[in-house]
Symmetry: C2
Subunit: 286 residues, 2 copies
């Protein structure tokens, strides 16, 4: 299977390394030359790619708009599998399906990362045990999707979650994007000054990702703004609810905090309409 990864950042570089660990020899491409040189020199890619017609699978590991631009600007082999790795899926799916195409598109979102970016921080173990979300719609070829499930398993992912782009974008606005927004908002309080002697583990957890570079995230959040703004609205309403209870009295506050604890320790397990399908792997390659 001939594989190419377009975009050699943290995720693209780590995909290459995980694929090599699984026995593949991916080629690579990048917008700027330095990461390609580094990846070649360090055995992360087998060769630098310039054209993409000859590959069975092309992973496009670029920011959302750059992903769409890349797909529109290049030719792929008939029936080739082209998979993006973006943190928003509805936008990419709409753009890809708005044009005629000879390739088979599947959306993927590897749920792993670091607070640092670039191919220089890539590693083969980044995805070990992590979730891989695969998004599909009526136009998705089942065999193409299955091929990516198999690659995910070989790359070390612990679980594949399949759903629509719409479900993905809603869930991710909650589990990932809102968390960064909260961290970024949390550190703006005046009491942030000179607070280091008063911090414990919960403060570290709450603020760990407040310092990530905003560049690509601003693009992702903007492309998912309806979902994310709804999440922020909900969170503020829930914070206000707790504040009202706090100001009402201790019993009221205790009752409201109990609600939240129970919501967390026993979340509803419903999956209305079977919208989410989960495949667990037992160890790499199993």
């Amino acid at each position: 299977m001939k594989i190419c990864v377009a975009g050699l950042g943290l995720i693209g570089g780590s995909l290459c390394m995980a694929l090599r660990r699984a026995g593949y020899s991916p080629d690579g491409w990048n917008r700027s030359p330095a990461p390609v040189e580094y990846a070649l020199k360090n055995g992360i890619i087998a060769a630098a790619a310039a054209r993409f017609e000859g590959y069975d699978v092309v992973f496009v590991a670029l920011p959302p708009r750059a992903t769409v631009d890349f797909i529109n600007a290049h030719s792929f082999g008939d029936g080739a599998v082209v998979a993006d790795i973006c943190g928003v899926k509805g936008y990419i799916e709409r753009e890809v399906y708005s044009r005629p195409r000879n390739f088979r598109y599947v959306g993927t979102h590897p749920m792993a990362g670091k607070e640092v970016s670039s191919v220089y921080n890539a590693c083969a173990e980044l995805f070990d045990g992590a979730n891989m979300v695969i998004t599909s719609c009526k136009g998705t070829d089942p065999a193409a999707k299955d091929m990516l499930v198999g690659l995910a398993r070989q790359m070390g992912f612990g679980r594949v979650v399949e759903c629509s782009a719409e479900v993905h974008d809603k869930k991710i606005s909650y589990t990932s994007q809102l968390a960064h927004i909260v961290s970024n908002a949390y550190v703006r309080d005046d009491e942030m000054d000179c607070c280091s002697g008063f911090t414990g583990g919960s403060f570290q957890d709450m603020t760990r990702i407040a310092g990530v570079e905003e560049g690509v995230w601003a693009e992702l959040y903007t492309l998912n703004r309806e979902n994310l703004s709804e999440r922020i609205t909900n969170l503020c309403a829930n914070l206000e609810k707790i504040k009202r209870a706090l100001l009402s009295g201790e019993d009221e506050l205790r009752a409201v905090l109990k609600e939240g604890r129970e919501r967390f320790t026993a979340p509803a397990e419903g999956n209305p309409g079977g919208r989410i399908e989960i495949t667990e792997f037992n160890g790499r390659g199993s």
Copy 2:
């Protein structure tokens, strides 16, 4: 030095164990008998205490109101050091100083904990490298405070932070109490259902403490409600600010997220009026 710990929960039990490790033989007291029996049997305390006049230092490791009740209900030796460990300090200080007393009161707040409670989870290492906040006011005896700084060092704390009860309560409302409120609010979104396949590290961090028992926390938050409600108000305002930027456009959002990142990576280091004094220890007992 004869030391007693009143209240054998996670913190009280761990204080005993850290004191034993440092060469002391603390006695213990508890409202219910089972933790005393456990602590005796496991060598966590030397003896069960019933009266408190004979101790040089009494740590009161109880919830806030129970701490005040305990101090009011018992006699201590002339000049004995009595130290609470509560997560609010203004309330305790006001209550203690509202009555005549023959002992020397000092407020302490060991900044360590676990998601689980009780003496059965106590350990001698709980405070290793942690922050110990010591609160004082005009009425505080400097020698009593110095004695507690020395004990903190011997128990393994990494740093002692000294400030007024007022400064403590403001800082703690931000670094600790608000974090729990956010976790508890975060898990109430409808997207919490069936989200486990979509989570990464940032979601785990954001929700880790959502499941803690609300009992004692509701009391602590209520006793610090002015500060905590101000923190919630500020956080909601900052979340709304980011939401407005999100809905305005990508450049606006990027600029606002950059503000937060810079606030986090380069916090103001001012210490207006020298309100906070920090003593760093280099290793246990140094």
